[in-house]
């Protein structure tokens, strides 16, 4: 399992975990008091299972870089939520280390931990975790209230994030009166109100209807484009992972099976298990606008502009309306090239051959 850092994530490491284990059972600490010994991973996992303990996370290591969306994907029982809880120390890991900005989270005192949670971390929960007795605005301002920030300032900060998630006008409703999608917007706003560096999202959209889920994913991508947080996103939905991940880890039975960008995973699945997820994915899902652009002479300013990050899939409709082509621009607005129907098809055809891995 090599942690291949793609070109786009050369940024500094924000959060990293090394050799993380979580074992449930009567005596989990018993397995990790072998100071100085090298742990033989498959052997130890086997022994733990044999002795009626449950290894929920087995030797998990990865880095999350600044501004990166890192998705942990796995089916239920694969240990993905356990890993997320170890990273935020909602659950104490049995072994290993978690470093946030170079500080060891597992060694932190309860007081220091509370401080980190108040200022550096935000978390969104599958079932929202809203306080039923507080209104929307009070829920969002709750973390600030715990910090003892005065009411006026709380209100002001909460107003800012409420706008970000599009809940203006519902400030005084109680969570019980909101739809699931709206409740999760409150959850998102609450997790962002302290302006955290690291944003954990634990299956945030799994409890929602498919249509709402799609809409919330779009919202999430929009927010992330604005805020550029360092994100750990947990999901069991492979397509959701593809849509939003910069890089992703696939977990099975407590172990990380593969880490890589979505494209890498699809083109080079590490084993049959990963391949079973990837085989059904239409290749066009992997193609971004930047990869379809070809260098073009002349002035492209007459052509409609699209972001280089946009998925090729979404360009088809625009291309149909503008057969002359589109101008792909990067984040700074510089023109990267021209996209025509022909260049898109060429890029798509090239995607199948392994020699020409397209990364964006």
């Amino acid at each position: 399992m090599t942690d291949q850092a793609p070109a786009s994530t050369t940024a500094a490491v924000k959060l990293s975990c090394r050799n993380l284990w979580k074992v449930y059972g009567p005596r989990p600490e018993y397995y990790f008091d072998t100071l100085g010994y090298a742990i033989d991973v498959p052997d130890l996992a086997e022994r733990i299972r044999r002795e009626a303990h449950v290894p929920a996370a087995i030797d998990v290591s990865f880095d999350v870089h600044v501004g990166e969306t890192f998705v942990i994907m796995g089916l239920s029982g694969s240990g993905k939520s356990t890993v997320a809880r170890c990273l935020s120390r909602l659950v104490d890991a049995s072994h290993g280390e978690v470093m946030l900005d170079g500080e060891d989270l597992l060694a932190m005192s309860p007081k220091a931990l509370i401080d980190v949670r108040r200022h550096k971390m935000g978390m969104v929960f599958q079932n929202f975790g809203l306080m039923p007795h507080l209104t929307v605005i009070e829920n969002i301002a709750f973390p600030l209230k715990l910090q003892g920030i005065p009411l006026a300032e709380r209100r002001q900060k909460a107003d800012r994030v409420i706008e970000l998630v599009g809940l203006e006008g519902r400030e005084d409703a109680f969570p019980g009166h909101l739809s699931g999608g709206q409740q999760q917007r409150v959850g998102i706003a609450r997790s962002l109100v302290v302006e955290p560096d690291v944003w954990f999202l634990d299956e945030p959209f799994s409890a929602l209807d498919p249509l709402i889920r799609k809409q919330m994913q779009d919202e999430f991508l929009r927010i992330q484009r604005v805020l550029r947080k360092s994100i750990v996103f947990i999901t069991h939905d492979f397509l959701e992972a593809l849509r939003i991940a910069d890089r992703m880890a696939i977990m099975r039975d407590g172990k990380v099976v593969q880490i890589g960008t979505p494209t890498e995973l699809i083109l080079n699945p590490a084993d049959d298990y990963v391949a079973r997820f990837t085989s059904d994915v239409p290749r066009i899902r992997l193609l971004k606008a930047a990869a379809c652009a070809v260098p073009a002479q002349g002035d492209l300013s007459a052509l409609p502009a699209v972001s280089a990050d946009e998925m090729a899939e979404d360009l088809i409709a625009q291309l149909a309306k503008n057969p002359d082509g589109l101008a792909a621009r990067d984040g700074a607005g510089a023109v990267l090239g021209k996209i025509t129907p022909a260049s898109l098809i060429t890029a798509l055809a090239a995607l199948g051959s392994e020699a020409d891995i397209v990364t964006s």
């Binding site: 971390m121 975790g129 306080m131 007795h133 709750f142 973390p143 715990l146």
Partner: protein, 701 residues
């Protein structure tokens, strides 16, 4: 017992066919005891030499305790007397209009105009019948005991939540506090705290705090993990975690606890008035009932029922709004209502000298309901006397007496119209045996065993059964149901009854309780089945059930005594009217909440409504129905003690006598006896439920 147990292995290791193998031996032993009873003295009567003066020991301990600690408790009495007198005096001094205004205002705030109107009308009734002063005295006790019980209960609940060890200690103590009849600890409280209203206060706090503890623990524990985790991730400290996350999220359950505590407190305040001297509404009922002024006691009883309903709706409303969280208002509108209410109240108090009507209810507005009610009741009883007598006599002669003293003594020319001839006995035994044989042929061993046992008990009578036979049956049954543990605890329970010399009275209690529980269960489940099928009937019964459950059970005695005089039959009726409700509710709930797929599957297979009920719904609802039986037993035994007030002769009466004669030991031993019966019955129910659940889990029948 040893020869019975010797040849049978543990039930869990027995193959199904051998499961009932021990019963023939037990039945043989029982028959032996019954036949030898006449000639062997120690079989008929548990030998006095083997009894222990437990009651005297309790008295000695209590005397020593009172001797040494009385000053301490008297100090507490003094401590409580002041706030109590203040509240009493305050409620008496406040003009009625101010009191009604405040309580109706709170009712409006909590539940809206409906409850406000109901509250106002209830209090106007209290004024019209002229029972304002005693009603306010009772309310004063409730107002001071509820906050105390809530504080104590909440504190212990938090403690039990934080420390699992504390919970393990608390839970059995709560069970005891709720099953030992309240009369049993009224006397020690009286001895320690001295005569006066403080006794009612202490008793009511002791009786009312357990539901608060249970609900607090339940609520705090059941907060969803998502909410806890989101609190942690928001960076809550331990203290913030509790007060800003866990407590508000658990508030609804905790307020349900407040509701239950309030009702228990009121009920105890009413019961505690039998020690007298409190001039409250319970005393009003009791004293008029003793003088057979049923009109007056009915009038006062209605006051209690109305107070109970108002308090129940008020506190239940609190729990609901705590969750619903109405619409969010600004602080001005939030407190505007309270300010307006306070202003109106002060205005009323200030206007009192100008408008005396506001202060004292004019004498001309009193209505004497008691005398017309009295004459109405009298004429009703006179008219229907033959009918009432017939109902009473047929139940007593054909059901209660045979079970109590056996067919051999119950059948006489006076009761059944003929004397028992030897050939009657022969026919009876033959039919019991035939029934048992038929059941055996059909492969239903359990039914055969029960036929024989019930046959024997009905012939001999539960009160005349040799004690050894009863012990053998119950211990063996316990062993079958719950293994060695249940057998041992049953044996210990029965040993306590034997050794303390409470056996005879206990058998009378078991007799009355069994009759009442059987009748309540039968009535409750039948009505529950009907209610689950017919929505209109369900809607019709709901307010009746609610009323019967919220009223202090004491009030239920009034109509039964009025119609059927003092005695076992009145007690039976009072118990049934209290104890059928849980059976009803659990049955209806169970039947209505059968998994929809099962019902749909059966319907699509072509089941008729009848088949659907008897072959799908009832079997699936059985665990729920048994839970109802369990509750019915608990309610029945609780009511048994209160029914002692209308002249039963069982342990309940013993508890009551102990209290009125100032004999702590006697009352306490009888009280523990009743608690033991209740707890043992509960254990048997639980064992049945476990067996049933594991049977389904294992897939054997």
């Amino acid at each position: 017992m040893s020869q019975v147990d010797a040849d049978s292995a543990r039930p869990s290791t027995l193959p199904v066919a051998r499961r009932w193998l021990g019963w023939p031996q037990v039945i043989f032993l029982v028959l032996l005891c019954v036949l030898a009873q006449g000639s062997v003295d120690w079989l008929q009567e548990y030998p006095g030499a083997l009894q222990l003066p437990v009651a005297a020991w309790f008295n000695a301990v209590m005397d020593w305790f009172v001797e040494n600690f009385r000053p301490f408790f008297r100090a507490i009495t003094l401590l409580f007397t002041y706030p109590m007198t203040w509240i009493r005096d305050l409620l008496q001094w406040l003009p009625w209009s101010a009191t009604v205004l405040v309580i109706a205002g709170v009712a409006y705030k909590v539940r809206g105009p409906g409850l406000a109107a109901f509250t106002t009308l209830s209090f106007v009734y209290v004024l019209v019948v002229g029972l304002w002063a005693p009603a306010m005295n009772s309310l004063a006790l409730v107002f001071i005991s509820v906050p105390l019980a809530v504080l104590v209960g909440f504190g212990l609940g938090v403690w039990g939540f934080v420390s699992p060890r504390a919970e393990r200690v608390l839970m059995p103590l709560l069970d005891v506090a709720q099953t030992v009849p309240a009369f049993a600890y009224l006397l020690p409280i009286l001895l320690l705290f001295g005569f006066g209203p403080v006794v009612g206060l202490v008793a009511s706090v002791l009786f009312a705090f357990p539901p608060m503890v249970r609900n607090t623990i339940l609520g705090l524990r059941d907060v969803p993990s998502d909410i806890i985790e989101s609190g942690q991730m928001s960076g809550a400290t331990r203290c913030q975690m509790f007060w800003q996350v866990r407590f508000p999220a658990a508030l609804r359950q905790i307020l349900i606890g407040v509701n239950q505590t309030t009702m228990a407190s009121l009920s105890m305040v009413i019961i505690a008035s039998i020690i007298g001297g409190t001039a409250d509404i319970g005393w009003e009922v009791l004293s008029t009932m003793r003088k057979a002024e049923f009109g007056a006691s009915l009038v006062a009883g209605i006051v209690i029922a109305l107070l109970a309903m108002v308090l129940d709706r008020l506190t239940a409303g609190l729990a609901e709004t705590g969750d619903r969280g109405v619409e969010h208002r600004s602080y001005a509108t939030r407190y505007g209502f309270c300010i307006a209410l306070a202003a109106a109240t002060i205005a009323v108090i200030v206007l009192r000298p100008v408008l005396p009507v506001l202060g004292s209810w004019p004498a001309g507005w009193h209505v004497d309901l008691a005398s017309p009610l009295n004459s109405a009741i009298e004429s009703f009883i006179l008219t229907f006397k033959p009918a009432l007598e017939t109902i009473k006599n047929s139940v007593v002669f054909f059901a209660m007496l045979p079970f109590k003293i056996g067919l051999d003594k119950a059948v006489s020319p006076f009761t059944w119209g003929f004397a028992l001839q030897p050939w009657h006995t022969v026919v009876y035994s033959m039919s019991v045996l035939t029934g048992a044989t038929l059941a055996l042929r059909a492969g239903r061993r359990a039914m055969a065993v029960w036929t024989v046992l019930v046959g024997i008990v009905l012939y001999i009578g539960i009160a005349d059964m040799p004690w050894l036979a009863v012990v053998a049956i119950l211990v063996f049954f316990g062993w079958r149901m719950g293994g060695t543990r249940l057998a041992i605890s049953t044996a210990l329970a029965l040993a306590f009854l034997l050794v303390t010399g409470s056996w005879d009275k206990a058998m009378l209690s078991i007799h009355l309780a069994t009759m009442a529980v059987l009748a309540s269960f039968l009535i409750g489940t039948t009505l529950g089945i009907v209610a689950s099928q017919r929505d209109t009937f369900s809607r019709f019964m709901r307010p009746i059930n609610d009323t019967l459950q919220t009223m202090p059970p004491f009030v239920l005695l009034i109509p039964t005594v009025m119609l059927f005089k003092i005695g076992d039959f009145s007690a039976l009726l009072a118990i049934i009217s209290y104890a059928y409700v849980p059976a009803f509710r659990y049955t209806e709930h169970g039947l209505r909440h059968v998994p929809a797929e099962a019902v749909e599957a059966a319907t699509s297979l072509g089941a008729t409504p009848r088949q659907l009920l008897f072959q799908v719904r009832l079997p699936l609802a059985l665990p729920n129905i048994m839970l109802g039986l369990n509750q019915t037993i608990m309610y029945g035994i609780a009511m048994l003690v209160i029914a002692a007030l209308v002249g039963t002769r069982d342990l309940g009466q013993e508890v009551y006598i102990g209290l009125s004669a100032g004999n702590f030991g006697q009352g306490f031993v009888a009280g523990i006896g009743m608690a033991i019966i209740a707890i043992t019955a509960d254990r048997f129910c639980l064992a049945w439920q476990r067996n049933h659940a594991s049977k389904i889990a294992k897939g054997t029948s």
